[in-house]
C-alpha cells in the first residue's frame, strides 16, 4: 500500500510540476484575495476603532491565518477528476485494483498543495511585511492542536467534493453543482466574512454544518480565540462529519460506478 502511494506521488508530482508556470498567477491571486478583505475591514475598523470588538490587527491575523488554513483544506478534485468521468478516460483507471479517487486523485491533490506551498510561503512573508500583524494569543499548543483538525477538515472537504464529482456519472452539469456547493461554503465557512460578524441565525446554524470545520474552526483555533469546550465541540463535529462525508462519498461512488458500467462509457 505504501509503495502504491509512493509511485502515485512520483507520477502526480511530475504532472503538477508541469504546471509550475502557473505559479506566478497563484501568487497574484493569493495576495489579492486576502488583501481585498483586509483592506475593507481594516478601513472600517480604523475609522471606528473596532468592529464588534475586532480591531484592525484582528482582521489582518484572521485573513492571514485563513490563507494557511485554506491552503491545507482546499481541494481540486473537480478540476482533475470530473472530466475523466465525462470523457470516459476513467475506464482505464477503474480496471486497476486501486481506488481512483482515494489514491490517484488524492495524491494529485496533495502534490498540487506541495507545489503551491512553494508560492504560499513568500506570499505570506510579503503580507507579513505589509501589515506587520501581531499574533498575540497564538501559542505552540494552539498550532499543534490545530494540525489534526486541519487534516480532518481537508478530508471532509475532499470527500464532499468527491461526492459532487461523482454526480458526473449521471449528469453533465457537475460544474453548476460545484458552484452551488460554493454558496453554503461562502455563507457558513467564515472564509470571506468572519463568522462572528454574520447574522446570529447563520452563526447558530453553521456550528452544525461541516463548512466551518475546514475554515473558521481551525483558523480561530490557531489564533487562540477558542475556549476548551469550543475546541472539544469542534473536534466532536469533526469526527461526526468525517463519518457522514465518508458515507455520502461511498454511496455516490458505488452507485456512480454501477451507472458508469451500465452505460458502458
Amino acid at each position: 500500500m505504501f509503495l502504491i502511494f509512493k509511485r502515485m506521488w512520483q507520477v502526480n508530482w511530475a504532472e503538477q510540476w508541469q504546471y509550475r508556470a502557473n505559479l506566478f498567477m497563484y501568487v497574484l491571486y493569493w495576495i489579492v484575495q486576502p488583501v481585498i478583505y483586509i483592506a475593507v475591514w481594516t478601513s472600517i475598523a480604523n475609522a471606528q476603532g473596532s468592529v464588534k470588538g475586532l480591531s484592525a490587527n484582528d482582521f489582518v491575523t484572521y485573513y492571514m491565518a485563513m490563507l494557511i488554513v485554506d491552503q491545507v483544506t482546499s481541494e481540486i478534485v473537480v478540476y482533475n477528476f470530473a472530466h475523466k468521468i465525462q470523457d470516459g478516460t476513467l475506464s482505464g483507471e477503474i480496471i486497476r485494483p486501486i481506488h481512483p479517487i482515494l489514491t490517484n486523485a488524492l495524491t494529485n491533490n496533495i502534490a498540487f498543495k506541495a507545489l503551491t506551498t512553494l508560492v504560499l510561503l513568500p506570499v505570506w512573508v510579503m503580507l507579513w511585511l505589509l501589515y506587520t500583524p501581531i499574533f498575540a494569543s497564538t501559542s505552540w499548543v494552539n498550532i499543534l492542536l490545530s494540525i489534526p483538525t486541519l487534516i480532518i477538515g481537508f478530508f471532509i472537504n475532499f470527500l464532499l467534493s468527491s461526492a459532487i464529482v461523482c454526480v458526473a456519472f449521471w449528469t453533465q452539469r457537475v460544474w453548476a453543482l460545484y458552484r452551488l456547493y460554493g454558496i453554503p461554503v461562502a455563507l457558513f465557512s467564515g472564509q470571506f466574512v468572519p463568522l462572528q460578524l454574520m447574522p446570529k441565525v447563520i452563526q447558530d446554524i453553521s456550528v452544525y454544518l461541516p463548512f466551518q470545520l475546514f475554515k473558521y474552526f481551525p483558523t480561530q483555533l490557531i489564533l487562540g480565540k477558542l475556549s476548551g469546550t469550543q475546541i472539544l465541540q469542534g473536534y466532536t463535529m469533526d469526527i461526526i462529519w468525517l463519518f457522514i462525508a465518508f458515507v455520502i462519498f461511498r454511496w455516490t461512488w458505488a452507485n456512480g460506478i454501477k451507472q458508469f458500467s451500465a452505460v458502458g462509457a
Binding site: 508556470a21 502557473n22 497574484l28 488583501v35 483592506a39 478601513s43 475609522a47 461562502a186 470571506f192 466574512v193
Partner: protein, 261 residues
C-alpha cells in the same frame, strides 16, 4: 456595414448553439442570482457595522456591484468563450482557417463566440445600478449618466485591449494556455471601490490590470467626483490601449506566419 451584418449572423449562430444547452443557461442564471444574493448579504454585513467604506455609501456600493456585474457580463459574453475557442484553435491548428477568411482576424477572434443569454445579466446589473443610486438618494445630472456610460464602455475597451495583448502572447509563447488567469484573478477587486485598497493594489487595478477603469471610475463619474480633464484622460487611455492592442495583434499574426523570421 458588413461588420454589423456579420455580428448579427454570429449572434444567430451562437443562439443556435446555446439552444443546444438551454437547461445549462437556466441553471447558470439561477446560480448567478444566488451568488448575487450572497454579495448583497456581505454588503449588508459590512454596512451594519459602518456607514461608509472609503467614503462610499451603501447605495453606491450596490451601484458599483451592478457595474462590476456589467463588466463580468461583458467578460462572460465575449471574452471567456472566445478565449476558450482561440486557445483550442491554436492547439488544433484551426486558427489557420481564421486567418484565411476575408475578414479582420481580430474581429473574428472577438466575436465568433457570443454567449447570448447573458443579456439577462445586463438587466440585473442595470437594476442594481438604478436601485443603488436611489438608496443613496443621489440626484444625478443627465450629463453624468451620459459620461458614466461612455466611461464604462471605454473602461471595458481597456480590459478588452489587455485581453487581446494577453492572447496575442500565445503567438510568441506557444504554451500559454493560462493566458487570461491574471484577468480572472483580479476581477474580484472591482467589488469594492479602489480607494479602499493600499496604494500598490490601487496602482495595479488602475494601470496594470485596469479593472478599476471599468468599475470604480465610471461610478465616480456618476457621483460627479471626476474633473473634465480626468474624464478626457480616461478616454485617451482607452483609445491608446486599443491602438497598442491592435498593433500587438498585427505583429503577433505576422509572427505566427513567420513573416518576421
Amino acid at each position: 456595414m458588413n461588420f454589423l451584418r456579420l455580428i448579427s449572423t454570429f449572434i444567430k449562430v451562437n443562439l443556435q448553439m446555446s439552444l443546444a444547452y438551454r437547461s445549462e443557461a437556466v441553471i447558470e442564471v439561477l446560480l448567478d442570482l444566488t451568488w448575487l444574493a450572497w454579495e448583497l448579504l456581505s454588503l449588508q454585513i459590512i454596512f451594519s457595522n459602518t456607514v461608509s467604506l472609503g467614503g462610499w455609501g451603501k447605495g453606491e456600493l450596490i451601484a458599483l456591484l451592478g457595474v462590476l456585474m456589467l463588466v463580468n457580463t461583458f467578460l462572460a459574453m465575449f471574452i471567456w468563450p472566445n478565449t476558450e475557442k482561440f486557445n483550442a484553435s491554436i492547439r488544433d491548428g484551426s486558427f489557420d482557417y481564421v486567418l484565411l477568411q476575408p475578414v479582420n482576424s481580430m474581429f473574428l477572434v472577438t466575436f465568433s463566440r457570443i454567449t447570448v443569454w447573458r443579456i439577462f445579466d445586463l438587466l440585473v446589473s442595470a437594476t442594481l445600478i438604478i436601485v443603488g443610486i436611489n438608496i443613496n438618494g443621489d440626484v444625478i445630472a443627465p450629463l453624468n449618466i451620459f459620461i458614466f456610460i461612455l466611461l464604462a464602455i471605454s473602461g471595458s475597451l481597456v480590459i478588452y485591449s489587455l485581453w487581446i495583448v494577453l492572447i496575442a502572447f500565445t503567438f510568441w509563447f506557444t504554451k500559454f494556455d493560462n493566458n487570461i488567469t491574471i484577468l480572472q484573478a483580479l476581477t474580484d477587486t472591482g467589488r469594492y471601490p479602489a480607494t479602499v485598497y493600499p496604494w500598490w493594489l490601487r496602482v495595479i487595478v488602475t494601470f496594470v490590470i485596469p479593472i478599476a477603469l471599468a468599475t470604480t471610475i465610471p461610478v465616480q463619474a456618476l457621483r460627479g467626483d471626476l474633473s473634465t480633464s480626468q474624464i478626457f484622460i480616461f478616454f485617451g487611455i482607452s483609445f491608446i490601449s486599443l491602438i497598442i492592442a491592435s498593433q500587438v495583434w498585427r505583429v503577433g499574426v505576422k509572427r505566427y506566419s513567420g513573416a518576421s523570421s
